[in-house]
């Protein structure tokens, strides 16, 4: 209503200067409107994300233990950072995280895409298969950790039991051997997160325009050529987003490893996020843990930026 009234005033030819400024108002409001609409989201992000990040950065310059007043904490400058760069345990955790990320993301992408390609066609029972595949995604990470901890249990676990019955394999100490424990957490992660890739890819495949597929078929493309030359290139932006989201997930994964192995044996399954948690709460080194958390943010930012530069799904829409 107000805008209508202003417009009516601005249409008068003899309007004074003051009226001309009013006449520009509708365009100004339209310019402001987008900011108005994204303001709540920006506010939430500032409070929920940016503030903690800066607070963590601030804390990383102090030596503070929970339970002591922060006013008593010593400002130690860059000591925590210097210690971090020379701490072999931190580098070992980073290495474990990269190894974990490489195996899980590679296998999840392969299995997720394969399953999606197999179930994209309307075959008998496809909806049942899809529902079953999605189920692990719906289970809380803590429950996933508990389920697999008991499945991998050396003494009473089903995995040892059936490996013994079916293949005559001696019971293995899955969660007490460095290599086997690493395999166990990779296997568990694949079990839980392959459905995520599957859902995203199958949604992308089903949204592909049928004309393009029809045209490729008329041009004589076989099944393999359709997949590798038509379908996958057309959903490449979706694959990049899926890859990015899984990469970020890998760096913030904590609950499953915490429940299954606690990071052990030794530091064989101590991902960087779990290392940060252990430094903060077991050793009560909150400042030091914050410094490592800052490093984690830097690593994730660099990796995310790298992936986006290589395969930015929005690059064709730079005008948006």
């Amino acid at each position: 209503m107000a805008n209508a009234a202003i417009s009516a005033n601005s249409s008068e030819p003899s309007a004074p200067d003051g009226d001309r400024s009013v006449a520009k108002a509708p365009r100004d409001y339209r310019n402001i409107a987008p900011y108005f609409f994204i303001a709540p989201a920006v506010f939430v992000m500032l409070v929920g994300l940016v503030y903690p990040v800066f607070d963590s950065l601030y804390l990383s310059f102090f030596d503070w233990k929970i339970g002591e007043p922060f006013s008593k904490a010593d400002n130690v400058g860059f000591t925590n950072y210097l210690r971090m760069f020379s701490d072999p345990d931190v580098w070992e955790s980073i290495w474990v995280t990269f190894r974990f990320g490489f195996w899980t993301i590679t296998l999840e992408m392969f299995l997720g895409v394969t399953l999606a390609l197999m179930l994209e066609k309307p075959i008998r029972g496809a909806s049942i298969f899809r529902t079953i595949f999605i189920l692990p995604l719906m289970v809380s990470p803590v429950v996933v950790g508990l389920i697999w901890r008991y499945l991998f249990d050396a003494r009473v676990g089903w995995i040892n039991y059936y490996l013994g019955i079916w293949f005559g394999i001696e019971p293995q100490v899955w969660l007490g051997d460095a290599e086997l424990a690493f395999f166990a957490i990779v296997f568990t992660d694949i079990w839980q997160w392959t459905p995520f890739i599957f859902i995203i890819v199958i949604a992308g495949l089903q949204a592909l325009p049928s004309e393009v597929l029809e045209a490729s078929r008329i041009d004589g493309a076989n099944w393999w050529q359709q997949i590798f030359l038509v379908k996958l290139p057309m959903i490449s932006s979706i694959l990049v987003i899926a890859l990015l989201m899984r990469l970020i997930d890998v760096f913030r994964a904590l609950e499953v490893m915490y429940i299954m192995t606690g990071g052990g044996p030794g530091r064989a399954t101590e991902l960087l996020s779990l290392h940060i948690y252990n430094r903060a709460f077991d050793a009560q080194l909150l400042g030091y843990a914050s410094a490592i958390a800052v490093l984690l943010i830097v690593i994730v930012t660099v990796l995310s930026a790298g992936i986006l530069i290589i395969g930015n799904p929005m690059k064709d829409k730079s005008d948006v």
Partner: protein, 442 residues
Amino acid sequence: MKRWIAKSIGGLAVAAFAVTASFANPYEKYKGTTIVVSWPALSHYGKAQGLIDQFTAETGINVEVDALQYLKLRDRQILEMSKPEGEYDVVTWVVMWKGEYVSKGLLTPLSQFFTSGALVDPKFDIDDIADAYLQNGGVVGGKKGYMPGKSGALYGLPFGAETSIMAYRKDILEAQGIAVPKTYDELRAAMKKLGEAGIPAMTSRGKTGHQVTAGWLLHLAPLGGKIFDDEWNPVFNNAAGVEAAQVMREIAQTGPKGIPAFGFGDAAAAFLGGDAAFYIDTLKIAAMARDPKLSKIADKVGYALHPVGSRCGSETGGFAAGIPANSQNKEAAFLFLQYITSKKGDQKMVELGGDPVRMSTYKANADKFAEYPVILEQLPCADADWRPLIPEWNELNIDVLGQALTEVITTDKPIQPIMDAAAEKARAIMEREGYYAWKDVN
């Protein structure tokens, strides 16, 4: 005049009633109060619910329990106790956290309450509580900050405290012709014999961090070792420490499958499930072995003293309970603490299937439970310096020893270099925290 006399008589009657009432029931003032208790989700504490119900029925004080997995208690309790007004009125800590809690000013000294005639039950008899339990769980500030000493002060009362004994399978030892081991040499020979016979010998905690360290500490003390000497130099890499680590390696090699992933519950479950011939750890195993929900071996278990090496030395551990500095119901909380650790409360805990803390309770029930005479004999061996209960212990326990000992039990590498490297890390932590600041002064 008549009115004045009537008023005076009425006033005197009211005063007399009030005095009589205060003598009649020390809990009356706190009736309707609700206190919140933080303690672990362990068998003993689950059984204590019966004692809580009795306390509430007798006193009118309500009790809410916040039970957590025992190693998760510390984070939650510290966060609560750091607030200006906390939710907890009673906290129950693993003894290794007492130094940290007190050094951060999070607990209330119990002397504040023990000086009040209105609060203290004259029949409470604190001297009847097993001294090892009281000193280890409740006293802070004595020798080295955590051992008994004249500078110590009482911050907690033991509830769910423990020492270590040995439980063994009578049927397996009889079938294999093995005598109950009294020394570590005998124990190691028995483990070897059982291992060769294909019978899992001894269960143990072994999971990286606190658990594997706790398993190793059980053997360190009787083999003559310590973590630090009197000047805070790490000495756990000496011959005794390395031998204790060697024992841990042998246990992992001859025991049930999965020891490197065993926490307290897993280790106990392996014994109670019939998968191990020996168990050396907390005395709580006895109550668990009697519980048909937990145990398949109730009538096959015997109990003996923790084997000796160069000396007798058993665990001092478990829990003690105290009152946070920011509790809003301190007096009601003290009455609760006093009630559950009183002679009556202690006996009730035995009837409920829990573990007592009083010598009189152990003696009165010695003919009913096979482990009680063993515990009475074991308690004088409970080592006050079993582990250093200093604020830095958690980091040493989990991050240094917990890592080194995992390497010991999961690899065949020489033990001495592993322990030497851990000792260097421990020294660096102690240096960082200023423990050697007096070295050049004196």
